[in-house]
């Protein structure tokens, strides 16, 4: 089905782009949001991703699934956003302070210990460098196999594995520190 839509898009049919958008918008948006933790950035990335698909349609191989192409574009756009953000962060922090807006973590139930643990996991993932976070998102959120992540991100499989290992270690260390501070959570990891 992608093949037919891509061929139509390559022929200049905007309706085909609309159908592809309808089909893949959630995939692009949730991936962008999980990597950036910023709703506005995720929306911008969603838009830019499909603009790129429209612009570079002639270069897209219609015989292959489109999802890996979209994942790669989404992650690259998220990296670009993160680079720009490092420069703009002080200004954005001030604007955020004035507007009172918060980050874009899907809210877990803060009234339960499990909800608190989920929140902690989200914070650990958010603190990972973007290149590590992208691997974690593609593996745990999108359930992609290591080989596919390797192809999407143009990384050796060993690097994908090492980034996952790093993320697990960071989470383990954070939880261990929390366990020392909050003994009642110990049951989760003993």
């Amino acid at each position: 089905m992608d093949n037919d839509l891509i061929e139509r898009l390559q022929a200049g049919d905007l309706e085909a782009l609309g159908e592809l958008y309808h089909q893949y918008k959630n995939l692009v948006y949730r991936t962008a949001l999980a990597v950036t933790h910023d709703e506005r950035a995720a929306e911008d990335i969603l838009q830019e991703c499909f603009i790129r698909l429209h612009t570079y349609a002639a270069k897209v191989d219609g015989t292959r699934p489109l999802a890996p192409w979209l994942y790669r574009a989404t992650v690259n756009l998220a990296y670009d956003w993160a680079k720009k953000r490092r420069w703009m962060q002080p200004v954005e922090d001030i604007l955020e302070w004035f507007s009172g807006s918060q980050g874009a973590f899907p809210a877990p139930d803060r009234n339960t210990e499990r909800g608190e643990t989920v929140r902690l996991v989200q914070e650990v993932v958010a603190d990972l460098p973007e290149v590590h976070r992208a691997v974690v998102v593609l593996f745990y959120l999108e359930n992609l196999p290591l080989e596919e992540i390797s192809q999407i991100l143009d990384l050796p499989v060993g690097t994908v594995k090492s980034r996952l290992y790093y993320a697990r270690e960071r989470l383990r260390e954070t939880l261990a520190r929390r366990q020392r501070l909050v003994p009642e959570m110990a049951y989760e990891f003993t």
Partner: protein, 94 residues
């Protein structure tokens, strides 16, 4: 607990921590922004305006009667004539 089980627990936590993202969907206005960008690539201000008029049907945007909901933007869009000759956009002024 052996290390294998511990890894499984960490895997389960990471999966659970990211699971809420699986349910997020983009705002409907995002489709309008995309469509407006394709139609008017040099008019980012109108992208933003159209994004705030977040109504669409199906996979392509259709603006409905926005004049009551967004009177200022509706007037401004009508003033610029942006929506003229746009087959899929209908702006009904009060």
């Amino acid at each position: 607990m052996n290390s294998h089980n511990f890894k499984d627990d960490i895997d389960a936590l990471l999966w659970e921590g990211l699971r809420p993202y699986a349910e997020v969907v983009p705002p409907e206005a995002a489709a309008i922004r995309l469509w407006a960008q394709l139609q008017q690539p040099s008019r980012p201000r109108w992208q933003r305006l159209l994004g705030r008029l977040g109504l669409y049907q199906g996979h392509m945007p259709v603006l409905l009667d926005v004049s009551e909901l967004f009177p200022y933007e509706a007037r401004e869009l009508a003033f610029t004539g942006l929506l003229q000759n746009q087959r899929r956009l209908t702006l009904l002024m009060a």
